[in-house]
Symmetry: C2
């Protein structure tokens, strides 16, 4: 079939279950896959600090971006030290869900899971939007198709993810290192040489910071905290690492944070020095890169590598979201389809679900990063807080070697992230954070309801087993065949109907066209003299309702019997021609789904017409 | 059922066929429904002239907008006079499709139809986008949800259209007249009082027009021709009018064009006088209205009425698109579902198709009017040209009273619009017109293929009738039942299977879980000692493929027989719980669609679990 062929080309041939262990990857590849989320946030974090400051009206306020960035760097160090403990304690992958569930109970685990899921979805939307904005900064003629462009990029990332993570890592390792290289070049050249002529936006006349309100500062700080998104990715992804997994993961975490800190501090410092600010249609990275490299080819290298690392960041979520969804599904908190591993050893349904949600957000916000950011940080810091709090309880419960110092580290982490969470939720509430605050309880409640359903379902099923008796044959049942004309398809249906039952009721709905009906009745008498043709009236031109009424009437007459409804259907030689034929039968089938004892089937007539 | 209830609330109860004639509407209502497309284009036409002129770099170039607008007004008069002839000649509705088909042949008719369909879709996308942009100009905090806002508006218009056109007209008449009133107020107050203090954008120092290139002028002219979209709506909508239909329609056409001309000329004149130009995030109407009324409440009246007439313009297409689609379907050039009138006497499928296409365009271009405009005018002028050319042939063929003067009028119309068409197609080619130029032949070819399919289909069907023989009962057939466990649902399926055939094959796919399989086999032997349970292997964890192989094998053994495949399915008490259960059966059914002699059915087991 066409679809399965397409599937093979895009996603690859199936892999046997035994192939599973080969998918472990070395540190340098893991850095490429798992750090991209954190590193790529340097592409927009500085800009997000600048925007609220610049809106204050006091132009010099943007000079405060440097102190704000320093505060965020301090937070970064606290969180990293805290997460190192998690990696050691949970070598099989210490996602916030697992840590919170094990130590704080199911409720906290589900809250963490809801926060993480939103977080992963937003990572895709934000990263892809930001990447596309960076490309549009370099090629403004693409601006007209911004949203469409974002959607295509998400679909491409989806396909790469469905092929399996290791192959994606190989494809994506180069861009990560290219990004680190081009950003470092930008920072070093920028510091040494300064902006090229005609590219100083503002002469910095004073070294004194202007007076500024605390609310404005906290708002800038809240926005800038997006720089910290993705730090937790490594602790979720430990099972991807080669052995010894915890040690490799921890080393990778430290390398990542050092690079992240240098890039974030360097970019913010240069933006400050050059007096750059937010411009419509130009990302701050693009403005900065233009100031340093002009319109030379290295400017395009910077923009391309920034876009690529952002797309790579989106793929981080494609590793983590389906894994979390499958954990939830195995614990019966999510639809069980999310637990089944596909034929490329990837949780395909989770991948598709993530794609749908992130495309929805991109469309909703027109692919504009700045509108998406306020939704982003709440989920991240909620999961940080729950994860660190869980670690505190973990240390207290197990009391391993040096447990007191470990507990103090995680307690510091938990309190710090909790305070930041409250700050973000308050100062970004009206900018979109409210959506996340509303959504999380709804998602948690949904998890709960799903769980209740599955528990009751398996109880009903295991009990139903005792009700199975010796099988008795049915004595008879009614077969209903709705027809719309007389042709070979109808004959097939009647032939089949007569063989499976002995009580046949054929019916025809009268809509307009008196002549056609009379001709049909004459032909019917000639071909099937033994079978009565029931003619049904339809005042509202509906085909389905008279047929449903007819079936209901039979159902009332024979309450205990099975009723089989057979639809004679055309099957066109080419599948897309099927769209040219009436789908009435399909609508009737849909209406019959909930009728007990009614069994619906179609007998197909294969058309030769192409 | 929930869906049918929702449907009644949104769309209303069914109307009987006899209700049909009541839907005719008086002139003042018809003006509201049919003129809104043309009138609303004044909301963006001037801006579209200004944008290419302003981009030229010479700021004074925008002063050329007035001469360009005068050229467009002249064109407007030519087209109107030409269309008056069409209304008289085609009192049953002289859409470009009908006129071109009758006079120039099927090919030209289909080209006109393709152009019109694109045109209607773009009317919805452009009008809704422009309406939302005008609301965002007044309420900038809505900017983050621009695309989503557009989508909602389209869905609301769709629902109003599904209720039927007369009710919509009543709802919408007020905004049309409010728009005319508020625009006239804006123009009169603007001319008499001039801009309020601090709102003159540019002091007009010179009364001489600056030198300007002809290409720039033609580009501005091409963009401004969007002012003419919608003039043809009245000639398509004649059957909506009360009798005498042609006379009423022609009077309405003249009233409409007079209003249109005054609004377009007035707005362009004021924009010129005030030296306004295009600003990001502000429509030109909004800038103009702010210049005249400041931030007073009348500014909001102008913005709201502009948005409303634009949304109303979108609803024009909701009257015309489904009608054209049903004409095509009756001529067997479009899927026959488009021909069937719904239970509210509206062509529901056409309405839904239009909604899907226009939402796609809005998303593709991020709801930004300026990006959509270049696609718009090509289709409009192509249908103008074909319609006028058709009228020329019409006069020549029939030679009615005064046919020579009529012929000359339409010939002038045809030549003028053809020249404009070539200008637009060339000067807007790279801005998006190419998409339309590519799409039209594709659509026409699709119409043609659909026609061929239907013709061959009805030939095959009418011949198949002679092949119906005396019905013979089938001697026996194979029943296949795939199971995934042992429960009451399986028992029902086996009970049904035994009653419809005597050769039962039950199968189970082995994926992991050895224990579960052994327990199942033991239970099976106990409950169904007479029926063999076939265990199928699955190396790639697929459930569907082993079952398909099993069916294929049986099919090869018994090539001439029917094979019935019965799936025991759970049916949850609440429909949305269905999503929590595996949809494997559904996938298998899909794969079996094209297998001849295989009949697929499900026996449902109704769960009590909620």
């Amino acid at each position: 079939m066409f679809i399965s062929k397409l599937r093979r080309v895009l996603i690859g041939s199936p892999l046997a279950s035994s192939h599973s262990h080969n998918q472990l990857i070395p540190k340098w590849k893991a850095l490429a896959v798992l750090s991209s989320d954190a590193l790529s946030s340097t592409a927009y974090a500085t800009e997000e600090i600048i925007i609220p400051l610049a809106l204050s009206g006091v132009y010099l306020a943007t000079m405060w971006s440097l102190p704000v960035a320093l505060g965020i760097l301090a937070l970064m160090i606290i969180i990293t030290i805290s997460y190192r403990q998690t990696i050691v304690a949970y070598p099989n992958g210490g996602g916030a869900y697992i840590v919170a569930k094990e130590n704080l109970g199911n409720g906290a685990g589900l809250v963490a899971a809801a926060a993480l899921m939103l977080d992963y979805i937003l990572t895709v939307s934000v990263s892809v939007s930001a990447g596309v904005e960076n490309l549009i900064s370099a090629f403004p003629q693409l601006a007209s198709v911004q949203v469409f462009f974002c959607v295509w990029i998400i679909l491409i990332i989806m396909i790469l993810s469905l092929r399996g993570i290791s192959e994606s890592a190989t494809i994506f390792a180069i861009p990560t290192y290219l990004f680190i290289f081009s950003m470092l070049s930008l920072i070093v050249v920028g510091i040494i040489r300064g902006p090229i002529e005609g590219h100083v936006a503002m002469e910095v006349v004073s070294t004194h910071l202007p007076e500024i309100g605390i609310i404005l500062l906290l708002r800038a700080f809240s926005s800038g905290c997006t720089a910290l998104t993705g730090i937790e990715a490594i602790s979720n992804g430990i099972p991807l690492f080669k052995h010894p997994q915890s040690k490799n993961a921890n080393r990778t975490l430290v390398s990542m944070v050092v690079i992240l800190g240098i890039l974030f501090a360097g970019i913010t410092y240069l933006v400050n020095q050059f007096g750059l600010t937010h411009i419509e249609g130009q990302t701050l990275i693009s403005s900065l890169s233009k100031s340093v490299f002009g319109d030379g080819y290295f400017y395009y290298v910077v923009q391309a590598s920034t876009a690529l690392i952002l797309f790579l960041a989106a793929s981080t979520s494609y590793a983590d979201f389906p894994r979390l969804a499958s954990l939830l599904a195995k614990d019966r908190y999510a639809p069980r389809q999310l637990a089944s591993i596909g034929d490329r050893l990837v949780f395909s349904n989770g991948v598709i679900g993530l794609t749908i949600c992130s495309i929805f957000l991109v469309i909703l916000f027109g692919g504009r990063t700045h509108y998406l950011i306020p939704l982003y940080a709440v989920g991240v810091f909620l999961s940080f807080t729950l994860s660190q709090a869980g670690m505190v309880v973990h240390h207290y419960r197990l009391r391993e070697k040096k447990w007191v110092s470990s507990l103090i580290i995680n307690l510091t982490g938990a309190i710090t992230t909790a305070v930041v969470l409250v700050v973000i939720a308050s100062f970004k509430f009206t900018h979109g954070a409210w959506m996340v605050i509303v959504l999380i309880p709804i998602i948690v409640y949904t998890f709960h309801r799903i769980h209740v359903h599955y528990v009751m379902f398996s109880r009903e099923l295991s009990q139903s087993h005792y009700l199975i008796d010796k099988c008795e044959k049915m004595t008879n049942h009614v077969v209903v065949i709705p027809i719309s004309g007389l042709h070979l398809g109808v004959m097939n249906a009647i032939r089949y109907g007569q063989s499976i039952g002995n009580d046949l009721r054929v019916c025809y709905v009268k809509v307009g066209d008196v002549e056609g009906r009379e001709r049909l009745q004459d032909q019917w008498k000639e071909k099937f003299p033994d079978i009565e043709l029931h003619i049904l009236e339809s005042p509202y031109r509906s085909i389905s309702e008279p047929i449903l009424d007819f079936i209901n009437k039979i159902s009332k007459e024979h309450p205990a019997e099975f009723i089989t409804v057979i639809f004679p259907e055309f099957l066109t030689a080419k599948w897309y021609h099927q769209l040219l034929h009436n789908q009435t039968a399909w609508l009737i089938k849909l209406s019959l789904i909930y009728k007990k004892n009614v069994i619906v089937t179609s007998v197909k007539y294969h058309l030769k017409t192409t």
